[in-house]
Amino acid sequence: MLLMSVWSCFFGQDEEDGTETGEGDEWMQGKTLIKPLDQLDLTEAELKEEFTRILTANNPHAPQNIVRYSFKERSYKPISSVDQLAVHFVLEGNLLHQDSDEARRQRAKQGDVEEGGGEERADSVESKAGKKEQKITNQFNFSERASQTLNNPLRERGCQTEPPPRANFSATANQWEIYDVYLEVLQKQEKNKEKAKAVPKKDDDKGKKKMMLVETQSDDITKVAKVAKIIERMVNQNTFDDIAQDFKYFEDASDEYREQEGTLLPLWKFQYDKAKRLSVTALCWNESYKDLFAVGLGSYDFTKQGRGMLVFYSLKNSTFPEYIYPTTSGILCLDIHKHLPYLVAVGFYDGCVAVYNLKEETLQPIYKSTAKSGKHTDPVWQVKWQKDDMDNNHNFFSVSSDGRVVSWTLVKNELVFTDIIKLIIEIFDNVCRPAACGTSFDFHKQIDYLFLVGTEEGKIHKCSKAYSSQFLETYNAHNMAVDAVKWNHFHTKVFISCSSDWTVKIWDHTIKTPMFTFDLNASVGDVAWSPYSSTVFAAVTTDGKVHTFDLSINKYEAICQQPVVAKKKTKLTHIEFNPVYPIIIVGDDRGYVTSLKLSPNLRKKPKEKKGQELPKGPEVEIAKMEKLLSLLREPENSNA
């Protein structure tokens, strides 16, 4: 019904409106009225009927007669007023009054969540809310226990490892490269096969290499040594320049004014620090190296026997010896081999003999005699090299106070001795006292087997190597020990001897009495013939003088008597002429060796007659000597 009424109102308004607006009418006239399908078909009379509606506040749906039971009256009674409220629409809202409980609760929750910065009001509200929100504990039976475990302090650690090293590499992989490499490898393989065959050779090479290294090392040292030596000699030459000049060129001009006498010009003085307390006991010039000479050092004093030394000097270096060999026992004699300038035979005070090889680096002798190998029991006073024997072994002779003359042969590594002769003293009743002490000997220059031995008793024996028990001849030479016996270099028959009985005697070995006798007023230590003249000889005495004689000039006196050493107490012990140069070396008992130059007068050679050929040296000398001797002999013969 409502539906219809609304609809009809609508229509009514439209019709009224249509009359007012002509445009609407036109719009409306276009349409035809559409009737809904369920609309009531009413007649027009019914349509014009008016109905009256009254709008009241009554809810049409509300019941008009509600009856409730009343317990008081125990009957149903109708309610007078019925609720006419019609709820058309309900929407539950979510707004709360701000003072309500719910609101407060909400605000408390919000206060916990929100942080700081709010209105004061909000804060206070929140704190209140917070307090109120604390856990409500059991007031009667609740105790709170709390503890805090130890929290380890936290530490930060950092570490950086090094990245693995990187490198770049590039190459090309081509067919031809690969092929090339393969070929190379093949070739190498072939070479290796060849090398494998020659492996044993490798070891030798290594050995050689080592040798080379060692040699080069030593070469360096030796090179420096050589240079140092040369420089040393240069320095010495410069230092002793005047002496060197004298040695070579100085000729004493004053000799022209002295008829017969000559002088000795002192040249170098050789001394070695470590040999100061020793006396020179032996001197020997080297035949091959004319400036080299050997000095044997020891002691003549029986009570002062100690060590000894073998020292080699060169004229080119007077400050320091070329070779030094210290020995345990004092040296009494030495001899340098004529042809092998590096072989030196040495006789010791303790009776040993030894052979040194100068070429070797060691300071030890290459051979040494021992008690087993027949060393002498007494000091060895003289050693002399001989010619090589039939087996081409070197050999030398030695004479000693024990009365034996021994020949030593160097056989491979040993020293083989052979007693040649034993010196025996004969007494008138034919009781032979054994072992006379030999103090010197000398071998004949030409006659090999013939040699002379001087003894402590003052006798000189002429012996032969062949006869071991007998002497060929005995000369009663001196009253005291014979210190030196020397054959003349030129005349085959003449020899000279000197002794501590102050005399020097010259003999012809065929005659038992001396040809010449010279008294030198002091014990004569040594005597030596000069190599350039058969009539010149020199002798040294314990008073420090050198006496030089030339028999062709003066048969009775020395043509030169010269003290050679500074201190008067120094005794001269040995003298030797240099085979080539006109100098002599003199050794004394303080270990010094002095070299002296012979002035021209001392070296006189016979005057050549004009027009005559120059005769050969030795023959002249021999002739000279012969002349002298013949002069002597004739009166002797006549006397005898």
Partner: protein
Amino acid sequence: VCEREIMTCCFPPQHTDMPEEMRVETMELCVTACEKFATNNEVAAKMIKESMDKKFGSSWHVVIGEGFGFEVTHEVKNLLYMFFGGSLAVCVWKCS
């Protein structure tokens, strides 16, 4: 000189800075892989790379081929460049 000889007698490592043991192992591995996968370089390289990674640590790189040029940065003592079979070149290096 027969190629077979070359192939059978030796596989010279053209360039390597590996320690002896490692080198020998790696070379053997390469030879095995190349022989096994003669036709397929990729698979051979894969096999080598994986084995190397397992044995010697990560990040190995392997190149197998007949004609190539290369420039690589490698960790020191971890490079092997060798030839195989007369025509193949193998390059193995480590770089993480």
